[in-house]
């Protein structure tokens, strides 16, 4: 039908009827002759207004087309005039229903660029790509919100929260084979078999030219944490590396299954985000050694002490001391960072599910994190000496903020309520005052260790030495 090809509506075969009805309705309501006059009047106006020659021609042509179309519509209308008015109304109703059904598809997501609900081809770039779940999968923002809330209900029923784990320096330490120092060569002979991964902790991955050491206690940690949390891996390594490490940590695919996010899946360069995690932000706890990777989610973050096993790792961060592999030793299994963090996680989980008395949906794990942290140094009043650079606003120093987060109160002046003086030089006035008044004199590392281990550390382990000026 030539009528259809002239239709301004972009047509697929099912749209044609709708377009036809649309056009019919428009013509039918205003009557036949007035239309023709209107069209001609428009044509005249256009011709008057456009003085350019090329426009004139175009307008004349389009006007001619319009007139032809109007005439054809009139013919059609006349031929259909014999049918009852009721039949046309029926068609209008059907048309309305059809268009309503078609408009209803909200395209919640796409797989291979086709809508997952109606199968239509979608080329838009809205939403977030979930390539780590399956290649080609993309979900729209509304769908992500919907999935997050249904999943939340499911998890809360099973009394689980979400835990996002970093790999490097948190759960393991990797190094390239070419970066091994001479006194680390012995490790090549000691690596564990790749056939039975569940028993080993040091693995040589020839095909990736690297060696990986799992952090002590990691297997117990994963087993116990999986009962309280649904776990994700989120690393800044690339996808093949992430999948390989997941195989080492989780050979039976029971802890992470497809929840392995690599830097290829993140939406922003050099930043990690919770937008690719299908869980409510109020129920996610993050375990990472790098604070700067989580700029938008610092409230969910538990900072981990870095695990430096290989010399290359120490070197990377500028430490000149010997690494654990060079010293032929390792982190303590029952007292190490992972064990302490596990205790803290248990406390957080218990507080979230058993102690908060408001309704489940409005609980926020970030609030719990803050509360648990504030218990650690509760009751301590800290004064800093010889720690901040002169003229530096003390309240903005990270150590001050860390101490406050841990529940201590900080002050710039000494008085009798002070309990700890944190100093790098035992000869300063405040340090000598502390010794005289029998207050604790500790090195700033006491605060950092307390932060990592979630427990007030014994003050005698952090003595302060005399400075050079004394």
């Amino acid at each position: 039908m030539s009528l259809v090809t002239d239709s301004p509506v972009h047509s697929s075969s099912s749209d044609d009827f709708a377009a036809l009805l649309d056009a019919e309705l428009e013509v039918g309501s205003s009557g036949s002759s007035p239309d023709e006059e209107d069209v001609e009047a428009d044509g005249d106006n256009n011709n008057d207004n456009n003085d350019d020659d090329d426009d004139d021609d175009d307008d004349l042509d389009s006007q001619r087309n319009k007139r032809c179309k109007t005439e054809k519509l009139e013919d059609l209308e006349e031929s259909q005039g014999s049918t009852s008015q009721g039949l046309i109304e029926d068609k209008i109703v059907i048309h309305a229903e059809l268009s309503l059904k078609k408009d209803i598809c909200t395209h919640p997501g796409s797989f291979g660029q086709m809508c997952i609900l109606c199968g239509q081809r979608l080329d838009d770039e809205s939403g977030v790509t979930f390539g780590y779940i399956h290649k080609g999968l993309r979900l729209g923002n509304d769908e992500i919100v919907r999935l997050r809330s249904t999943d939340m209900k499911n998890l809360l029923r099973h009394k689980k929260l979400y835990l996002v784990l970093d790999l490097d320096h948190t759960l393991l330490n990797s190094t390239q084979l070419m970066h091994l120092t001479p006194d680390e060569e012995y490790l090549k002979g000691q690596s564990d078999s790749l056939q039975d991964v569940s028993r080993g902790s040091l693995f040589m991955l020839d095909f990736m030219h690297m060696m990986t050491k799992l952090r002590p206690f990691v297997r117990t940690f994963l087993k116990e944490a999986s009962e309280m949390f649904e776990m994700y891996i989120y690393t800044m390594g690339d996808r093949p590396y992430a999948l390989e490490m997941a195989k080492l940590l989780d050979p039976r695919r029971e802890y992470f299954s497809d929840r392995v996010i690599s830097r290829d899946d993140g939406t922003q360069k050099h930043q990690k985000g919770l937008d690719v995690v299908l869980g409510q932000e109020s129920a996610v706890v993050i375990l990472d050694d790098t604070e700067n990777a989580w700029m938008k989610h610092k409230d969910n973050l538990i900072l981990m002490e870095r695990y430096h096993y290989f010399a290359s790792s120490c070197h990377q961060f500028g430490y000149k001391c010997k690494s654990l592999s060079q010293l032929k030793s390792d982190e303590s299994e029952p007292d190490g960072a992972l064990a302490s963090v596990l205790k803290a996680l248990r406390q957080i989980h218990h507080m979230f599910f058993d102690e908060l008395d408001c309704n489940l949906a409005s609980r926020d794990v970030r609030q719990v994190l803050k509360t648990v942290r504030e218990e650690v140094l509760k009751g301590c009043k800290i004064v800093f000496s010889h720690v901040f650079p002169t003229n530096f606003p003390a309240e903005s120093h990270p150590l001050w903020k860390m101490a406050e987060q841990l529940g201590a109160t900080c002050s710039t002046e000494t008085d009798l309520s002070v309990t700890h003086v944190v100093s790098t030089d035992a000869g300063t006035e405040k340090s000598r005052w502390a010794v005289k008044e029998k207050k604790f004199l500790v090195h700033p590392r006491w605060i950092e260790a307390t932060n990592y281990l979630w427990q007030k550390q014994p003050e005698e382990n952090f003595p302060v030495s005399q400075g050079k000026n004394q």
Partner: protein, 173 residues
């Protein structure tokens, strides 16, 4: 759906293959080039079943290669919108499940899974109802509701219609 069709292709052969085994070389090169490929028009070429005709070879100017037009019969697989087929489930998660029917990957979103099927997470995530459960390696009958015209690797499916759903539950054997 599978089709058994005749296709034609111009094969270029290097002079080192000329000689007694010219035809065998031509046929093996054809198989290597074509089997496993996918085109939008015909779908996936699953296997070549026979050679119908090998035309006269034309020597190309400038190089010593010779071009033979070859007509061959082959089995192709192409998914169609509206087609009902059986697939094996490869992955189940809260968004739906992924299934495989030969070379084609099909995704059935949870919007197109009947409401009485509930997702259960765990180490073997599944969708369960009283009739059976859909988990990894179960067979399902599904209907294709979306394919791509240019590349047929991905499809969208549904099991929300009559007679669709799990066929064979691997847990009840």
């Amino acid at each position: 759906m599978f089709f058994h069709i005749v296709l034609e292709r111009n094969m270029q052969l290097h002079p080192r293959h000329f000689g007694r085994n010219l035809r065998e070389n031509l046929v093996s090169k054809l198989m290597k080039d074509v089997e496993g490929t996918c085109s939008g028009r015909h779908g996936f070429v699953v296997a070549i079943t026979g050679i119908e005709n090998v035309g006269k070879g034309l020597i190309r100017d400038g190089t010593g290669f010779v071009t033979f037009p070859v007509k061959y019969q082959c089995v192709v697989f192409r998914p169609f919108k509206g087609e009902v087929l059986e697939a094996v489930v490869t992955m189940v998660n809260k968004m739906g499940f992924f299934a495989e029917a030969g070379p084609v990957q099909i995704f059935v979103s949870n919007h197109l899974i009947p409401d009485d099927m509930e997702f259960q997470s765990g180490d073997m995530p599944n969708y369960t109802t009283s009739d059976g459960s859909i988990q990894k390696d179960s067979e399902v009958r599904l209907k294709i509701i979306g394919t791509r015209v240019d590349a047929t690797e991905f499809c969208i499916g549904t099991i929300k219609d009559d007679f669709l759903g799990v066929i064979n539950d691997p847990t009840t054997a």
